[in-house]
């Protein structure tokens, strides 16, 4: 293990055909499975907005984003399954039975179109920042390669979210108020996406699966988004928000992580409905899977 860790510290990249310690294999697998589940659940949320998005152009964007997320999940499930801990089907069943997890931001209800914009603008940006930090010196080769493309595509989503947010910021009074309500709902979940401060013993950091500490990423996000929101004429829903007179940096209130822990155990406000919805989607597509699986026999 010591030799393996030296290899990782020297910037070594692990490929699927290489030998690797079981604990590393398990850690990489769990991390990728969580990411895949999150892309999948995110894709289903985006899908809900295809019929509801205002206008053809926004529908096209919602459609493309859905395809992106489901496509990312597909790629991630492929490399997760290749680690030979669970098959893709086992991962799907575990997710739909509520035995595995997905990111906190997909455990809340999306109430309105401006909520959807807040998700695209605030949440996608947080997800992108954490993915970029993983990518920077990720030690697992296939994951790093997928992240390169995921990041490129998520960057386009973010630009889209920013554009829609600015439209609302400069829109009518009602639009501005609706956008503010959505920011109020989504600010904290977005900030919490980075998770509590990293433990010093975090093996994800030690094995270069992640390259930056949670609190560093969270702080960078706050420094970027507080001025942006204020610039758009919005307020940040945090009564304790202040600018530190010494270093000039924005400081947010202490976060109570207990509700997040419950949410991450699939006990969030919308977790049950979301998982049930994903289960229905899976059942409805059963005939498609069967048809694809038997096509080689039928058409041979």
């Amino acid at each position: 293990m010591e030799k393996f860790e030296d290899f990782l510290d020297a910037g070594g990249v692990v490929e699927p055909n290489d030998a690797m310690p079981e604990s590393y294999r398990n850690a990489v697998f769990r991390f990728i499975e969580l990411h895949a589940n999150s892309e999948y659940m995110g894709g289903l949320t985006e899908r809900d907005w295809i019929p509801k998005a205002p206008g053809l152009h926004r529908k096209l964007t919602a459609l493309a984003k859905t395809q992106d997320e489901i496509g990312h999940a597909h790629l991630l499930y492929m490399i997760a399954a290749d680690l030979q801990i669970k098959t893709r089907e086992e991962m799907m069943i575990d997710l739909l039975e509520g035995r595995t997890h997905f990111h906190n931001v997909f455990h809340y209800r999306v109430h309105s179109w401006t909520d959807q914009i807040a998700v695209a603008y605030l949440v996608d940006a947080a997800a992108l920042a954490s993915q970029q930090a993983v990518f920077r010196n990720c030690s697992y080769g296939p994951y790093k390669r997928i992240l390169r493309r995921v990041i490129a595509e998520e960057g386009f989503h973010m630009r889209n979210g920013e554009e829609m947010m600015l439209l609302m910021a400069h829109g009518t009074r009602t639009q501005h108020e609706m956008m503010q309500e959505s920011i109020n709902r989504w600010w904290l979940p977005a900030v919490q996406l980075f998770g509590p401060d990293s433990r010093p013993s975090d093996e994800l950091l030690r094995w270069h699966i992640k390259s930056e500490r949670n609190e560093v990423l969270r702080d960078r996000y706050v420094q970027k988004f507080v001025p942006q929101l204020l610039g758009g004429g919005f307020t940040v829903p945090d009564p304790g928000l202040r600018k530190d007179p010494v270093d000039g940096k924005w400081k947010i209130s202490e976060i109570d992580w207990e509700p997040l822990k419950k949410t991450m155990r699939n006990g969030g406000p919308d977790s049950a409905r979301r998982i049930a919805d994903a289960r229905t989607a899976w059942q409805n597509a059963d005939w498609v899977r069967k048809a694809l699986d038997s096509s080689s026999e039928v058409y041979a």
Partner: protein
């Protein structure tokens, strides 16, 4: 205002540097999306060839093209062409290198089997006709065990 040949050349080179919204290190010229820049009546027109119909990035590309021309003091008209049809053949050799090395994206060759950009094997198995974007399919390389996205080639019937 009359448009001179040097105006046209300046716009042509500026527009050629507009990058793809998803792949900022690739230009629309390298990807073969930029067809031509011409004088149409009293204005400059930029003809673009979309990689795929219904591509959600088109309006962003249009905006970026107009902005690039505006920086030179020109208002341009952007037209998306139905012909010629975009094919992966339009991607330049240097862009192919970037796609393969940076993004692990392969391109369907005119003939023969597609090569894995990671290990060079030619034994990839197709897993899905479309991937995260409509213009790429998803393959699996059993040699290096990486999922590979491949830019799809549309079959063009020769009349």
């Amino acid at each position: 205002m009359t448009i001179t040949q040097s105006d046209l050349a300046a716009v042509r080179s500026a527009v050629g540097l507009v990058t793809d919204p998803e792949y900022p290190d690739l230009t629309i010229k390298q990807l073969g999306i930029l067809e031509d820049v011409v004088i149409d009546a009293s204005s400059i027109r930029v003809d673009l060839v979309p990689t795929i119909l219904g591509c959600p990035a088109l309006s962003t590309i249009e905006k970026d093209v107009k902005l690039a021309a505006r920086k030179l003091g020109h208002e341009v008209v952007v037209r998306f062409c139905r012909a010629p049809v975009w094919t992966p053949d339009r991607i330049s050799p240097d862009a192919r290198q970037i796609l393969a090395n940076e993004y692990t994206i392969a391109i369907t060759p005119r003939s023969g089997r597609t090569q894995c950009p990671v290990c060079g094997a030619r034994s990839m198995e197709k897993r899905s006709d479309v991937g995260p974007t409509a213009c790429r399919s998803v393959h699996w390389c059993p040699e290096c065990r990486n999922p590979i996205e491949v830019v799809r080639a549309r079959e063009i019937k020769v009349q």
